[in-house]
């Protein structure tokens, strides 16, 4: 691999973005902005209280946030455009044909596309450093702040690169909105639900003054207190690696064969996220102090709060996240017709169709089982001895979630193999309508109010599962078991449908040439 800074893609971007005229213009604009910031804060007669810092410190904090904004948002958008723009210009194929490896091309775009944003960030350094010295901000703090800025931006840029690689040609705005949404979500303070502070690079400001308290807060991973800075560094590196892995995997591929992760990688990523979820869960705070702090609007979890103990609330909360995680993993693993055909061709026999028709249920069952089992084990470890909690019921919850998620995933996979313009999007719309309408009808009939009828609804919808406890389990135990069985039968039904579709492929109805391929290979 060529050394990073000799990477042709970085050199090309630097040549395009950093022409002398542009450099001079950027320097002049940055100097003007720096001067304005300095004048308006340091020479202002008004007392400045920027996070409790005195004036020069406030200039540093303001400039730091400006640098983060330029690199994180401006640089991120440049990275988002890096591959999409090349595809629009029809130049991306030329890059794919060169001898640059996928990793060289991805790294080149990661650091090359935002090279202009890096330069502007550097232009603000003089005023930031002067302000840091005059504001007597410790050198280590400044170093930490810039380490967060740099590694944090790299992590987010890696995500932007991945979006840019896999997004459709006509989905540019969606990509930008998705990126900004992730930025927004990570700005939120999640400490009500977890023992980790903010993870957005804007947290670097928290190093500077008493108003930002993130750094006085130690993260807690399975009860072990860790400095937030160290946790951030590890998280940034880990997420950069995961996102880059996916970008590298796909960047030189044919678009119709994009596959964000291999099944094993997707499974590993879901487990990694699950580990973070349960590792940073406030086990000790919630259980030893008897406090459950779930930062979700009351209208969402109100019903649960009314009926559940703190232990049950924790279980439902974590189970909900596990379901979300593995639903996301299932979406990543879904195969389009082209990929399904390819898998069939590789299998070169119809003998494995029954196994392929289960896709992607095995990973969901295994993942939900593993993560759900971990949650149950941790609850059993941390909960109050005397608190009402049923192990068999918790196991039922996990089993139901795994089977229900498998049902929907196999159904979506089957629908995704139809001939349609956007089969997955229309399948998701079917699901939205199904869940919306069915839920509305069940609510209108007050079916959720009575334990037995609520259990009956679980044959179609999983929502009553989140309010299931010992009191409503008792009178409807058999119906709940029947609901689980009904879900399993639906899994078998959709598996059968998917198997039929795959057999059509292998028998050449959907694809007149695949059978010939199999014959050729067997010959």
């Amino acid at each position: 691999m060529k050394r990073v800074w000799n990477n042709p893609e970085i050199v090309r971007n630097a040549r395009m973005q950093l022409r002398p005229g542009r450099i001079i213009a950027a320097v002049i604009v940055c100097l003007a902005i720096s001067g304005t910031i300095w004048e308006s804060i340091v020479h202002s007669d008004v007392a400045v209280s920027f996070g409790g810092l005195h004036k020069a410190g406030a200039v540093f904090a303001f400039t730091l946030n400006l640098q983060i904004a330029v690199l994180l948002i401006g640089g991120g958008i440049l990275v988002l455009q890096s591959v999409r723009r090349e595809k629009d210009l029809n130049t991306f194929d030329f890059q794919r044909l060169t001898r640059l490896s996928a990793s060289e091309l991805a790294v080149g775009k990661l650091f090359g596309a935002p090279v202009g944003a890096y330069f502007v960030t550097l232009c603000f350094w003089p005023v930031a450093l002067i302000a840091a010295i005059r504001g007597q901000i410790p050198g280590w703090t400044v170093t930490e702040a810039y380490a967060i800025l740099l590694l944090g931006c790299i992590a987010f840029h890696s995500l932007a690169l991945l979006i840019s690689v896999v997004e459709r040609r006509d989905a540019g705005v969606i990509g930008i909105l998705l990126y900004l949404a992730v930025l927004g979500v990570t700005l939120a303070d999640s400490r009500m639900n977890s023992m980790i502070g903010r993870v957005n690079p804007f947290v670097a400001g928290g190093l500077l003054g008493p108003r930002w308290t993130d750094f006085s807060f130690k993260d807690s991973f399975f009860g072990i207190a860790l400095p937030h800075f160290a946790v951030l560094m590890v998280l940034y590196l880990a997420f950069s690696t995961w996102f880059l892995l996916a970008a590298i995997r796909n960047i030189k591929r044919e678009p119709s064969l994009y596959e964000v992760y291999s099944p094993v990688e997707a499974f590993g990523f879901a487990l990694f996220l699950g580990l973070l979820l349960i590792g940073f869960y406030p086990w000790q705070a919630n259980f030893y102090q008897g406090i459950v702090r779930i930062n979700v609007p009351d209208f969402v979890l109100g019903a649960i709060r009314r009926v559940a103990t703190p232990t049950q609330q924790a279980e439902q909360y974590l189970l909900g996240w596990i379901i979300l995680l593995f639903a996301g993993m299932a979406l990543v693993l879904l195969r389009n017709r082209e990929r399904a055909r390819r898998r069939l061709t590789i299998a070169s026999s119809t003998a494995k169709v029954w196994w392929m028709a289960l896709w992607p249920a095995p990973y969901i069952m295994l993942g939900v089982g593993l993560m759900g089992g971990s949650v149950i084990a941790l609850i059993a470890h941390y909960r109050y001895e005397g608190e009402a909690w049923s192990l068999p019921l918790a196991v039922y919850d996990v089993a139901f979630a795994a089977v229900w998620l498998s049902r929907d995933a196999i159904c979506l996979q089957w629908l995704n193999l139809r001939r349609a313009k956007m089969p997955l999007a229309s399948a998701a719309l079917y699901y939205l309508i199904f869940y919306g309408c069915t839920g509305t009808v069940f609510s209108a009939l007050f079916l959720y109010a009575v334990p037995r009828s609520a259990a009956l609804t679980a044959m179609l919808l999983p929502s009553p599962l989140f309010a299931l406890n010992e009191s409503n389990w008792g009178p409807a135990q058999k119906i709940w078991l029947a609901a689980l069985l009904a879900q399993a039968i639906q899994v078998i039904f959709f598996w059968w449908l998917q198997q039929r579709r795959l057999l059509e492929f292998s028998q050449g109805k959907g694809s007149p040439t695949v059978l010939e391929q199999a014959r050729l290979q067997n010959a």
Binding site: K2, M16, R19, F94, R419
Partner: protein, 320 residues
């Protein structure tokens, strides 16, 4: 040992999902079998949507066939795409260049991306600029170049790593006549250097002039393949003949109408043009009989089949 073909397509098929939302699938390439020997200029002819670009992209490894095998210089493109891609340079039908780069920077970027020995890059860039006749433009921004110059720069990019195979998709599209002439000269030069060129074009007259072999493609299928003269001779089994008479007065049309194998007669007072089915001996007999019948024949010529005429006859005119 038999020489390895530069390009080999073995039973190659490519199916697409229809983007229009219809329930049909598009077969862009249908069981293609094609062999292009080293050193050819091979033209692929066909209407829009015939599957030419898809075929070229499969040869480049930019798209994977649904089934079948593509070999470039003996290397399986599916199994070892990077090794196969080292052997080829590709120019797409519609393409852009990086307008904010200078000519030499553009070529330097691709020379580095193709991992040419660093010590040789400057020389290689200079040589490519010279060969593409862009000498005076070395330090100019690409945005200031004409369409023809950009096209030459694109070809320069495709050959910067000196590949034995050059794949050009509609390289003459959008070029003015002068630029087209320059392009043809450039392709002839590259061919003279031993490059194999695989080219598609709508401008059949250009292909006819430079190609050594052609294939006619339609609806994803290859209708005719072969040396250009063979294909044209084969297709010209029904050939057109022109007879010239020294003086008016002989009813050539009436006389020809009664002859077997003659059709499509277009006669004037001093001659006739007609389609004739039969070999050279049969044509000689026809001419001898015509002279015996009293026609003042002063000239007989077989009309040359142009590629365009040939194409229009081979093609059914259907597009997918």
């Amino acid at each position: 040992m038999a020489a390895i073909s530069m390009i080999q397509l073995i039973n190659v098929t490519k199916q697409y999902e229809s983007q229009s939302g219809s329930r049909s699938e598009i077969v862009a390439a249908d069981r293609l079998n094609l062999e292009i020997p080293d050193g050819e200029i091979f033209g692929l002819v066909g209407p829009n949507g015939a599957g030419k670009t898809t075929t070229l992209k499969m040869v480049c490894g930019l798209q994977s066939p649904t089934m079948g095998q593509v070999l470039v210089n003996g290397v399986d493109v599916q199994r070892d795409p990077e090794k196969a891609q080292e052997q080829l340079g590709y120019l797409a039908d519609f393409f852009s260049v990086y307008e904010d780069l200078k000519v030499w920077e553009y070529l330097d970027y691709f020379a580095n991306a193709y991992k040419i020995d660093a010590a040789k890059i400057d020389e290689r860039v200079k040589e490519t600029i010279r060969r593409m006749n862009l000498n005076g433009k070395r330090d100019e921004l690409i945005s200031g170049l004409s369409r023809g110059m950009k096209q030459r720069l694109g070809i320069g990019r495709a050959v910067i790593h000196d590949p034995p195979l050059i794949i050009l998709d509609e390289p003459a599209a959008g070029l003015d006549p002068k630029a087209r002439v320059e392009l043809k000269e450039l392709l002839k030069e590259l061919h003279a250097e031993g490059k194999t060129i695989f080219i598609t074009s709508h401008i059949l007259a250009d292909l006819e002039e430079i190609c050594t072999s052609i294939a006619v493609m339609e609806k994803g299928r290859l209708l005719r393949i072969g040396r250009i003269e063979d294909v044209m001779t084969e297709a010209a089994a029904v050939r057109r003949v022109r007879i010239r008479l020294a003086a008016a007065g002989f009813a050539a049309e009436d006389w020809l109408n009664e002859r077997p194998g003659v059709s499509g007669i277009s006669a004037t007072a001093t001659g006739a043009e007609f389609a004739f089915v039969g070999d050279d001996a049969a044509l000689a007999t026809l001419v001898r009989e015509l002279v015996h019948a009293g026609a003042p024949v002063c000239g007989v010529e077989k009309l040359t089949e142009t590629l365009e005429r040939l194409y229009s006859r081979i093609s059914t005119g259907e597009v997918m």
